[in-house]
C-alpha cells in the first residue's frame, strides 16, 4: 500500500511540475516579436515568438509542404535554418540524415521561434499559394479511383509544372490534415485543377474527397514538386505509373504534346485487372494525333472468366524492360508504390538512364 501511495505522490508531483512548466511557457515566457529572414534577406517576416516556424510561415502565406499538419510525423516540412534555430530536437532526427543536419536542415514544425532567425527555402516555395476552390466535376474512373476537378476561385489561376502536386486540406478528427495529390490536368489549364484520387480504406483525405460533390468548397495549396520536364525536344520521355499513379503522367503527356506535337513519349501503366484500367481510350485518341506517343498498359492479375485483354501482362517493370531499347537519350517520370518504383529504376538504369534523368514519386 505504501508503495502505491509513494508512486501516486511522486507521479502526481511530476504531472504537476509538467503542467506548471507548460502554463509558465504559455503565459509567462514572452519571446516577443521576432524577425524571420528568408533567403538572405530577400524577405523578412515579423512574427510573434513562441510558435513554430511552420505555423509562422503559414500565417505569412509561405506554404511549406506538410502532410501531418505539424505533428512531426511526415518529415515533409524541411527548411534550412541558418541562424537562430537552436539545437536539433530528437523528434527531428529520424527525418534528417547527417548531411542534412550538418547543413542546418530542420523540420519547420518542430522549430520554435524564440529569437530572430535566418532560413533558406527553395524559391519555388515562395510562389506556392493557398486557393479557395469549388468542386466542378466528380467522375468515377474505376471501382475506387475518382477524377475530381476543382475550379479555382481565389486566386483564379495556378502556375504549375507537369508532375507537380497540390495539398488538399481535409477535416480530420484532431483538426485539419493535408494530403498531397498530383495534378492530372495539364499546365496550360490554369483555372482549374484536376486530381485522380484513390479511396484508401480509413484514409482521412481520400474519404473526404470521395464524398465531395459538385459545388462543395475546398481549400488547397500548391503547386509543389521537383519534377522538371526536359526542354530538349529530341529527348524521349518515359512515363511509368502504377496503381493510381496516373495523374502526373496525364499532366506531363498533355502538356508535352501541346508544346512539342512530334516529341517521342512512352506511357507505361501497370494495374491489376481490366477493372482498374482507365484513360486508355482517351490516350488512344491522343496517339492518333501524335504518332510518337506509345501506350503500354499491363495487367498483373490473370484474366478472369469472360475478360479479354490485348495489352501486356505481368508487372509494369517487365513491360518497360521489354519495350525500351537501350542507349537512347531519355528522361523518365515514375509514380507508384515503392517496390514498383525501385524495380522500374533498376530497369531504366540497365537501359542507360542516370539518376539525374529519373524523377519519381513513391506513394
Amino acid at each position: 500500500m505504501i508503495y502505491l501511495i509513494a508512486i501516486l505522490v511522486i507521479g502526481g508531483l511530476f504531472v504537476s511540475l509538467a503542467i506548471l512548466l507548460l502554463v509558465a511557457e504559455r503565459y509567462l515566457v514572452r519571446y516577443g516579436p521576432c524577425a524571420v529572414g528568408i533567403n538572405e534577406g530577400s524577405s523578412v517576416l515579423k512574427v510573434q515568438g513562441g510558435g513554430t516556424l511552420l505555423a509562422a510561415l503559414y500565417e505569412n502565406k509561405v506554404f511549406i509542404p506538410s502532410a501531418c499538419g505539424g505533428k512531426g510525423s511526415c518529415g515533409y516540412c524541411k527548411v534550412m535554418v541558418v541562424a537562430g534555430g537552436g539545437p536539433i530536437l530528437p523528434t527531428e532526427t529520424p527525418f534528417l540524415n547527417r548531411v542534412e543536419m550538418r547543413s542546418g536542415m530542420r523540420l519547420a514544425c518542430q522549430v520554435k521561434i524564440k529569437q530572430d532567425m535566418e532560413i533558406r527555402i527553395p524559391e519555388d516555395l515562395l510562389n506556392v499559394k493557398q486557393y479557395q476552390a469549388r468542386v466542378s466535376l466528380v467522375r468515377e474512373l474505376t471501382r475506387d479511383i475518382k477524377e475530381v476537378e476543382f475550379d479555382l476561385l481565389d486566386p483564379e489561376a495556378i502556375e504549375q509544372r507537369p508532375g507537380q502536386y497540390v495539398q488538399i486540406q481535409a477535416p480530420g478528427p484532431e483538426g485539419p490534415v493535408f494530403r498531397a495529390y498530383s495534378i492530372s490536368s495539364p499546365m496550360y489549364e490554369k483555372r482549374h485543377v484536376q486530381l485522380n484520387v484513390r479511396l484508401v480504406p480509413g484514409g482521412i483525405a481520400s474519404t473526404y474527397i470521395h464524398g465531395l460533390k459538385a459545388g462543395d468548397p475546398v481549400v488547397l495549396t500548391g503547386a509543389y514538386g521537383e519534377f522538371r520536364l526536359s526542354e530538349d525536344p529530341d529527348r524521349e520521355i518515359v512515363c511509368v505509373g502504377g496503381g493510381c499513379g496516373m495523374a502526373p503522367m496525364r499532366n506531363i503527356i498533355y502538356s508535352l504534346y501541346r508544346r512539342w506535337p512530334d516529341r517521342s513519349c512512352w506511357l507505361f501503366f501497370g494495374c491489376r485487372s481490366t477493372r482498374d484500367v482507365f484513360y486508355l481510350e482517351e490516350y488512344r485518341q491522343l496517339a492518333k494525333q501524335h504518332p510518337n506517343f506509345k501506350i503500354v498498359y499491363a495487367l498483373s492479375d490473370p484474366l478472369g472468366p469472360g475478360e479479354s485483354w490485348d495489352g501486356e501482362t505481368g508487372f509494369i517493370h517487365l513491360a518497360v524492360d521489354k519495350k525500351l531499347i537501350p542507349g537512347i537519350n531519355r528522361q523518365a517520370f515514375l509514380c507508384g508504390p515503392p517496390p514498383m518504383i525501385e524495380a522500374v529504376i533498376d530497369v531504366l538504369k540497365s537501359k542507360g538512364l542516370t539518376d539525374a534523368a529519373i524523377f519519381y514519386d513513391k506513394f
Binding site: G75, P90, T91, T93, P94, F95, L96, N97, R98, E100, M101, R198, V200, P201, G202, G203, G242, G243, C244, R272, S300, G314, F315, H317, L318, G336, P337, P338, P339, M340, E342, A343, F363
Partner: protein
C-alpha cells in the same frame, strides 16, 4: 544475472533485420507469384532500419549510448517474426507478406519501447526514439501499400 547493455539489444535487433533480409530473399526465390517476388525483392532491400535510423546520429553519441547498462533484459525472440502462422513461401500472398512485415516492425518497436521504460538517460532515449520512428514510418508505408491493392 548478466548485465545487458543497450548495444546488446541493438545488436539483437540488427541480427533480426539481417535474418529478415535472408528470409525475404528466400521467399522471393521460391515464390511463383510475380507480385510476391516484386514485394519481397523490395522488402529484402529495405530491412536495415537500424542503420537508416543511426545514419542521422552522431556516431560518438551512439557509441556512448550502446554502453548504457539496463536494469532489466528485454525479452526478444529472434525467430518471433518467422514463427508467425503464415503460409509457406511458395504460396504466401502479397497481403500476408505485408502483414508479416508490419508484424516484424511492431516486434522491434516493442523491443525498443521496453528499453525506453527503463532509466536509460536522454541520449539513449534519443537513439531509441529515432529507431522507433523509422519502424513506425515503415509500418505506415506498408499499410498504405496494402490499402492500394497493388500486389
Amino acid at each position: 544475472m548478466a548485465i545487458v547493455t543497450v548495444g546488446e539489444l541493438m545488436d539483437r535487433a540488427r541480427d533480426f533485420e539481417l535474418r529478415l533480409e535472408v528470409y525475404y530473399a528466400e521467399i522471393r526465390d521460391r515464390s511463383k507469384d510475380n507480385g510476391v517476388r516484386l514485394l519481397t525483392y523490395y522488402l529484402a532491400r529495405h530491412r536495415r532500419h537500424q542503420e537508416q535510423a543511426l545514419a542521422g546520429l552522431d556516431p560518438d553519441r551512439v557509441g556512448h549510448v550502446r554502453m548504457v547498462e539496463l536494469k532489466f533484459d528485454a525479452p526478444f525472440d529472434l525467430d518471433a517474426g518467422r514463427q508467425m502462422p503464415y503460409a509457406p513461401p511458395e504460396t504466401i500472398q502479397g497481403d500476408e507478406l505485408i502483414e508479416m512485415a508490419v508484424g516484424h516492425d511492431r516486434e522491434l518497436v516493442s523491443l525498443y519501447r521496453s528499453v525506453l521504460v527503463q532509466p536509460v538517460g536522454d541520449d539513449a532515449r534519443t537513439v531509441l526514439e529515432a529507431l522507433i520512428r523509422v519502424e513506425e514510418r515503415d509500418m505506415v508505408m506498408l499499410k498504405k501499400m496494402q490499402a492500394m491493392h497493388y500486389f
